[in-house]
Symmetry: D2
Subunit: 442 residues, 4 copies
């Protein structure tokens, strides 16, 4: 969560834009929609709007005498998991918070926005005198708060999709997230390229964030890793390919599965990706933020658990990539002829027509890609002091890393060193799958 | 659920009044409040508004060509438990129905109201030609629908109280139910009378509904029962008396408890009535529809499970009354100097000042009173044919009967033969406790 | 649990016989078989042998200076549910008591037998001087202990059947319980008589135990009950008849079921009586204490839950008998031309050949018969003081009464006033089903 | 699971010794003890004796015409988790297998031993003609079977300890495992050395098994890993040190814990290592295979979950070692002045008196040491074909690696490359904890 020398002016501008973007997400929804908590892992949209606000008030405005803080109980209700501050409201009961009502949450957002803008202006004025350690700390925390809010923008959409998926009415989240890049493209602009392999000779490589620019604590320290030669797929696995796995009895053959995954698959009676729908004539539909849509065989398969991704890879004679393999490839994507930094603002499946043929330009950022790597600290990692230290560091058991960002990730929030993480059972995030192979097995 | 010769004019008038009363109940609530489902047994307020509407459409308007019915899926969503019609939406997931939005439910209510009023007018016109069996059946079903809606008015308030009780903010249901008889009287107008006993010599008595007037199927057939001599308390047990049971270690002494209740008390860690609140200085508060209020030692203790009521009675050297004992006493309440029929529109704890002294006039109707009787059919009971037969008859195992109505019961819905029933574990209804004794033990 | 003026000599003789009979039951079993606890409701055979011994030591030998008591911890391990004495070992963990080993339990049985015989001799000597209240109490408790041990003989066999049923090896309990009346008759000696109805005109009848002879506390006080006219089936429902219910979709039609039963049937995926076995060619087998046997269509159907019995009766256009109906009929069984007292030592399905035709002589005692009556106290019932008061009185919620005894019930332990009780979900006891009807519905 | 060129003669000798050692373990136990299954993760001792026998019959004797195989159902009962062979008997129900009785299992062991010895003799005879691929495969599988049986010897003792720990009688496993090295030394021969640190400069190291000698599949392929500089503790953390963590509120301070561990600790109400016993005067006792013993503050703390080990390390300002760090140190233990290969037959806490001072000679092998490494495949790992491929490869999610072996591990079964693995929640194995540190943090 270190932060380089941000321009506070730029920060204030981004602050306004990002805070506004959160509220834009609920445009057109019913008030009741904002109460939906489809499962304990998910949170109501209203809670997300409040929690991201709580974050700024808790970590930046506590000493601010001019700020009118929320009632003290709200600090329990909208604390997510920062136990050093106090016991949070039980996660599974967020859906029972009919109060505060939306309008009170939105008014709170305004108050916090005002105080934050004042604080940033003061920091900017002080910045003319040179950065003090305390100012640097405040700026870094503000930057963290914005990245945190962007994370919750994606969570809000994931959770809403989960909540809507519980209703037989199959409601559509009416407004596509980005005007020009709809959440779901019912007709793919082109067939995916044939599955090809990018090769890497192995050796010592660097893993983790280096240089300027925001990153989360878990992306550092940068360090060296010895890599065996390997190859990685040049695109995500598609719905059509995954359907072939299913048709081949993939869900019925224990040999493809981790033992724990096989148990999970039986206990939960899983027979398809989370949002596929079978109308009695086969798995021809997918529930999306635009409601029920035809399943596109050319689109990348999504909403898979790690167990399913891992089983598919084994069935396909391949494996999932290590996160170090993924990051190495993402930095020097052979097809891209360029640096990741140039391509970080990825959008899903954007096709460009070149000489009459559509070309998929970009190769990462469509879906969070499961890796073979359990989520553990990098060598030399130390948890930051204070409650902010709970941000990432206490989740480093029984989860796997995902890389790359998804079509639900806000613009500007993709990063090649970004480490997302979920339980191998989870499927409600926009997860997908890319294959890898040992060099020897090719 | 038989119905005598209703005047349809009166019926239409009552229809309008009762339907309006349901909507009055949500006045002043936030839209999010109507989504609250605090537990699987409870339902969101919006669902209650929709379900009572579904009842009329399902059982009375299906053949009505002029009626514009709800989308077909709504018939699954708002079916409560009538399996012969089709598998209902899972009860525990009613809180996940953000759609249809409230305004769509209210519009549906209007459409159904219009169609029902037209239907009743037709029946009235037809009634001039003499009642046909079919018309009688329709009128009876309409009457049932109104009584059903009144039941859900009470359920709506019970469920809302449960939902609000889950929030640390302790929201208040702002508008008292009845303007002149607030839900909670924080200061009791008078001390309760000393506990006295009404005596009955036993012998053959009649149990069950006789004569004209609406009643549910489970209140009939009327039949004879042989009673041993007994006595019954002249008032409900108070908070103060119940606190003495607690102070005497009542929750810690297994001898007072049914084995099943002892297990329940331990598994759920129950140490007080459901809505009592202990602020560290003792049980001095009670959560109510008006929010947190001081616990009134003179008010009747409420929100008890059957296990608690039964344990208290045993501790007090008494027992719960049988439902036949209760009904016998209620019909000829010694203190009332009159018939139950004259006193059916009971309100809670209404005090009248006579010669300067407040007098509690009425003796039943404050709280649903647990009885010692499991809920089973009366001799000769037969389930009505059709889906309506599921109304009461399929719940006749593992529940106990409660009698008398409560302060949440709508006016006009009390009846001395009324059989309410809940699991011995349930506490979220307005349940209370009256003692009884064998004659020999006095 | 009152006891008349027993002859202590007879008591000592019965004591020896009954204690021996318990040990006879484990003849031929493997030591491991005695550890089996197939479910929390069941107990290992070794535990039964120890618990019945504990009962005598706890309630009769505590003051006996000559008696060498078991280690103090055993009093926790082998206490079943008498909480006033102290918290018992958790029921579900009885199967984890590998110690004390069987030989130590058997040695304890011998020590307790010796002390008990000495005590009974002293009581007998004292009896010459006339019965003292204390002696009477001791004799009554000894008599209770013997009836208690007989109950556990039946439980031991039920629990063993449950335990063996969990093994794919389908072990047989090798030795038939009674040499001349095998537990299972694979070939029925005759077709059952056609289903006929015994009629009763109703009116005031007596319910409960009267006169001399041992009975449990819950069989008293005798009291009057008003009965409506009714009829009761002249025999139990057979496997063949029950198979017709199944073939007619009885388990798939919610209309036959209590709502709670329907839920149970779905949660547990129940589609047949507990021990029926389907080898892919239909339900042609039954698992019994003699291992897997062909299902006899003429034999009474057994190991039903109350929910199944109740559903069958409704499907058959009938209902279950009330316990007062059952007891009334059992006392004056029309076909028997005699008093119940003459026929109390019933054995299952004993056929006598008269003039070449087999005649089923006896009509009760084959299987415990589910009644329509929840298990509740009789009017005027009072729990005995002391721990013995926990024997029956604390189980009077959420259970139904069964009547009549079964082929597993020890000889001499049947009684027309006997009230057995189980949860409506339970099926591991030898339960069956007899139909009843209202007079009006015939 | 590769196997070098074993001498079959040596193999046959080891076969006899290892098979006998399993049976020696149950010497002096009651037959009922062998039925104990204290939890779903554990298995009865009798089951272990049968399962290890099944392994030889299943993988080596199926084609052997002279071998008299067990009844076909036993192949389901004693299959542990090899799903490609068929659905195994449910793990949690192994404790319900009273049959086959112990004597039948022992007879089966003899039959299998005879057939195996004959097979090995044939292989030996054939070996004179040079090793055929098939013979090599058979020999390798036999070797695997022996190592498998040794693993189950340790499991048998772990599971028995768990089973005995459920009994209030606190039974002692009477016979110490090894005559000269008792399972528990109630008085430690010497104080542990002060905690010191072994330093390693980092760089490229080799991980995994190389060269001849048996190893499991998951120990290969050997491969290079880049290591940062680090230090590792020179001994295990002691009971006394762990008690200081507890006294400092370690179990009550969420900052030390993984979020998942904090949840586990609360759900299971964990406040001490699994077998510590508090008699009201503090944690002064430990339940062991010798029954309840005084807790030795100088002995290494054992029966910790990964969560507890990880929390302790964080509290101590350190961390757990990576498995590559552990293996690197174990191969060249600085204090030992020698190769691991010379010290592989480690025994617990053996002290030698040198010049009057006791010296702890050996530094690994007392307890399985939790590492910071999730259990995942080594680069290039491939699951062997056939059912044997299920041995290790399907458990590579949500578990952590333990290294080093324990005092319950049979002699000759320790190995520096050995990878044991358990869920971070598990505590019933003989797990302990060694600290590590980044070089920079020292």
């Amino acid at each position: 969560m270190s932060s380089g020398g941000q321009q506070t002016t730029g920060l204030a501008q981004r602050f306004r834009a990002i805070r506004q973007a959160s509220e834009d997400l609920i445009h057109g929804l019913e008030p009741e929609d904002l109460m939906l908590q489809g499962m304990a892992d998910a949170s109501p949209a209203k809670w997300h709007l409040a929690h991201t606000t709580w974050f700024f008030e808790q970590f930046l405005l506590q000493q601010d005498a001019q700020h009118q803080a929320a009632p003290v109980q709200w600090h329990t209700l909208f604390n997510s998991y920062y136990r050093t501050i106090g016991a949070p409201h039980p996660r599974s009961e967020r859906g029972l918070l009919s109060r505060p009502a939306l309008r009170h949450v939105l008014a709170w957002r305004q108050r916090v926005n005002g105080s934050m803008e004042r604080l940033m202006a003061e920091l900017e004025a002080g910045a003319g005198l040179g950065p003090s350690p305390q100012n640097c700390q405040l700026l870094a925390t503000a930057e963290l708060g914005l990245n945190h809010e962007q994370q919750h923008q994606e969570l809000l959409l994931m959770d809403l999709l989960d909540g809507f998926s519980r209703s037989p009415l199959e409601p559509a989240y009416a407004t596509p997230v980005h005007q020009d890049q709809p959440v779901h493209l019912s007709a793919s602009p082109a067939s995916p390229p044939p599955l090809g392999w990018w090769h890497h000779p192995g050796g010592l490589v660097w893993l983790g964030h280096q240089g300027e620019g925001f990153h989360f604590d878990n992306e550092s320290p940068a360090h060296q890793v010895w890599l065996e030669p390997f190859a990685m797929g040049n695109r995500l696995v598609t719905n059509g390919e995954y359907a072939a796995f299913m048709a081949d009895g993939g869900y019925q053959d224990s040999r493809h599965w981790m033992d724990e995954g096989w148990q999970w698959r039986h206990d939960r009676q899983v027979t398809a990706p989370r949002y596929w729908r079978n109308d009695g004539e086969g798995w021809q539909w997918e529930f999306t933020l635009e409601g029920r849509c035809p399943l596109d065989p050319n689109a990348p398969v999504r909403h898979l658990s790690w167990f399913e991704a891992d089983a598919y890879a084994r069935w396909a004679g391949a494996r999932l990539p290590l996160e170090v393999e993924w990051e190495t490839m993402a930095r020097h994507a052979p097809c891209c002829d360029g640096q990741w930094l140039d391509t970080r603002h990825l959008k899903p499946r954007r096709a460009t027509v070149v000489d009459g043929s559509p070309v998929v330009q970009q190769v990462f950022g469509d879906l969070w890609e499961w890796t073979a790597s359990p989520y553990r600290p990098y060598p030399g990692f130390h948890v930051p002091s204070g409650a902010v230290g709970e941000y990432n560091g206490k989740f480093m058991s029984s989860q796997f890393v995902l890389r790359g960002g998804s079509f639900l990730t806000p613009a500007g929030h993709h990063r090649s060193t970004y480490r997302n993480f979920f339980s191998p059972r989870s499927r409600w995030m926009a997860s997908g799958l890319r294959l890898a192979r040992d060099a020897a097995s090719l």
